[in-house]
């Protein structure tokens, strides 16, 4: 099961031979060529200088490897409509595992025809073949495109091909030719041990796979979703109402099939296949397994509403697919007796909706961390995944009948302040300038000394002395001196310098 698709440079003048060149070892060599060029006897890997000598009016284009990879990946997206298991075979090939999918398209031959025709219509030169092993199918695409080989007939089908069709690399192919083994059948007639001894284990494995003895697993681009439902349209749909209606119908079907196995979805993906081959996938994640189609419907509506680049139907979508890629077994709880459980569910549903709209990372709950350093004492974690953990977290108990010891608003990065002088070397300032305003200190409490974590890699920071300060207006600050007076802060010459002061937070 494999297709090899090759992008050709669309040349306006069909008669003029054109090639794409790439720099290899400081020489320009041919990377790809069109039919006219290959009829002239040019071949891939040939230096451009030689090619020019053979054909002076050659049209030359620079290769863009990144764009090629992008195109291949786009084609792979498009191929998702045939099977969820699509693997890249760089630089030009794709593997499609169509096990169990062919009957949906009227059999293997019909599928192959549909695929090749659709791609050819978009301007690609395609060679495709179907076989029992991926390596065999790839070999077939190089020599006999459009072939379908039944299981067990691989060796027969490819034995007459030249060894270069295996794609084993320049050195091995030349070596085989020099040894007098011209076709794959010749190579297969030798014992595997001879081949391994001369050309290495890798080549003999490749040969075995090509002959249908065992198979190398393909590496699909996306994990296989647990559930897939899809709808195809003879007439492409483009209006929002139709899209919404299709999604909610698909959601009903998806929920019905998950319900049979007692599952709920945590991650859902809707893929919109445009008629011109562009595929747009939209992902929605939930904190708890979803078991109601109305919820799925609403989440996608929120998501589609809030898209920065809205869904562009172009000439319409000819297929919409809804898949659940992460599912969990749903435990049915008795809800009615405990209002608290119900509340938590409502909250989780609200968080899912907000996350679908503005992104999961923007809705957070807070988890206490075991550290004294104020800025890292609290970790903000996505609420969808950590809601239960946050609800059960153990926060440090506050001291009764004490005023607040930690500020209500904390600056992410402490802001430097200007302190003219301090009365005593280790003492607090009498006044300071913060954001161009002078604050006279009326009340002081402190210092509270917080030493940095020297046992950590990044713990080589200065000890901080924190003061709680109230100014003449009644504003309350949490300021600190970065470093002890003697022995921690040095200037460029290694002499003791005066440490800096910072505002780290504001009290209510």
């Amino acid at each position: 099961m494999g297709t090899g698709s090759r992008e050709e440079n669309a040349s306006k003048q069909k008669d003029e031979p054109s090639v794409v060149v790439i720099k290899d070892n400081n020489a320009l060599v041919i990377h790809a060529l069109d039919d006219a060029a290959s009829r002239l006897g040019l071949h891939i890997g040939q230096p451009l200088a030689n090619a020019r000598a053979m054909c002076p009016d050659l049209r030359v284009f620079d290769a863009d490897v990144v764009a090629d990879a992008k195109t291949l990946s786009d084609i792979a997206d498009w191929c998702d409509r045939f099977t969820p298991l699509v693997a890249l075979d760089p630089p030009h090939g794709l593997f499609l595992d169509i096990t169990g999918c062919a009957h949906l398209f009227g059999g293997e031959a019909a599928l192959l025809q549909t695929l090749v025709r659709a791609l050819a219509r978009q301007g690609f030169a395609v060679s495709a073949a179907i076989a029992g092993t991926s390596v065999c199918a790839r070999t077939l695409t190089r020599q006999a495109t459009g072939t379908i080989v039944a299981d067990g007939e691989e060796a027969e089908a490819i034995s007459s091909f030249p060894v270069s069709a295996l794609g084993a690399g320049e050195a091995v192919t030349t070596g085989l030719r020099r040894a007098g083994l011209k076709t794959i059948g010749d190579v297969a007639s030798r014992t595997p041990s001879e081949i391994t001894a001369r050309f290495g284990a890798r080549f003999s494995t490749l040969l075995a796979h090509a002959l249908g003895q065992g198979d190398a697993p393909i590496n699909p681009r996306k994990p296989l979703p647990d559930y897939i439902v899809e709808k195809r349209f003879a007439e492409p749909i483009a209006t929002d109402t139709m899209i919404a209606m299709t999604l909610s119908r698909l959601a009903d079907t998806l929920i019905a099939s998950m319900e049979k196995q007692g599952k709920g979805a945590r991650r859902l993906e809707a893929a919109f296949f445009r008629t011109d081959g562009v595929v747009r996938a939209i992902m929605v994640e939930t904190g708890r397994p979803v078991t109601r189609s109305a919820v799925i419907d609403r989440l996608f509506r929120e998501r589609l509403d809030a898209l920065a680049d809205p869904l562009d139907p172009g000439f319409g979508f000819d297929m919409v697919r809804l898949s659940a890629s992460r599912t969990e077994i749903v435990v049915q709880e008795q809800r009615d007796l405990d209002a608290h459980v119900h509340d938590n569910d409502e909250l989780a549903a609200l968080i899912d909706r907000i996350a679908a709209r503005i992104g999961g990372k923007r809705v957070v709950v807070h988890l206490p961390q075991d550290t004294h350093i104020p800025e890292s004492a609290v970790l903000a974690a996505p609420a969808q995944h950590h809601l239960t953990a946050a609800m059960q977290a153990e926060w440090p108990v506050r001291t009764e009948s004490e005023p607040p010891l930690r500020p209500l608003r904390l600056f992410d990065k402490p802001e430097p302040i200007k302190v003219p002088f301090a009365t005593v070397p280790d003492g607090p300032p009498h006044q300071f300038t913060w954001r161009r305003a002078l604050h006279a200190v009326v009340r002081v409490e402190g210092p509270e000394r917080i030493a940095m974590e020297w046992w950590r890699q990044d713990g080589k920071q200065l000890t901080r002395d924190y003061f709680r300060i109230e100014d003449a207006e009644g504003l309350r600050f949490w300021i600190f001196r970065d470093g002890l007076y003697e022995g921690e802060v040095f200037d460029g010459d290694g002499k003791p310098a005066s440490p800096g002061w910072y505002v780290h937070g504001l009290f209510a």
């Binding site: 907000i354 440090p396 506050r398 005023p403």
Partner: protein, 262 residues
Amino acid sequence: MSGARTSALATLRSQIERIETAEVVHQHERVALGHGEADSALKGGLARAAVHEVFCEGRQGAAATGFVIGLAGRVSARRPLLWVRQDFSEIETGALSMSGLSELGLDPRRVVMVRAADVESALRTSADALACDALGAVVLELWGEIRQFDLVASRKLTLAAQGSGVTGLLLRMAAQPLPSTAETRWMLRAAHSPPGPMWSAWGAPRFDAELLRNRHGPCGRWIMEWNCDECQFSEPSTYSQPVAAAPTHRSDPAVPWQRRTA
């Protein structure tokens, strides 16, 4: 008047009555703040299922935040609190610190924070959240003058709050009050600690709260103190630290001493 017209009028009257009562169905629920004068001006306390606005100048942001947290602590009654804030306000006045929140006597486990990138998504999120009756309160924190927050947006929030019974609290920093459908509107400033020597500790958080607008009662201006242990507001205390109570079963030791010197 014909019978048909009378019955038509009666139907219309009953419809109007239904619309009016639907609006005030949650209005009876009021939560006492704990500060006597403020509670009497508010006719018993802060109304649930309504939107309240708290304004402040730019540098008074922390005080206003403390006041909003106090209000949220009073009205939310152990239910989750959703805090929606704009990215910009975090740069200006710092991020809301959960350690600081727990020092004020609230439970950080019940706080869910939404970091909205812009005003539109913040407004939309809070209107959505106000309609969810599992929440105790929704706080919307906005910085600066905001064009998008007009009478329509304000009305949307109020309607959502009335429908679900959730209280909406708007923290508007560095903004001037504009017409809105809020139930109450406050202007917040930080208040001084009670006088004392420089090195003495401050007491509980104190707010100079001015009630600028009150739909169902008079306005006023009070010094309010937040009691972190009991999680309610109170009248300002004279001393910043708790003072030992005078013994009731013994005579005041200062009195005989004064008599001796006299």
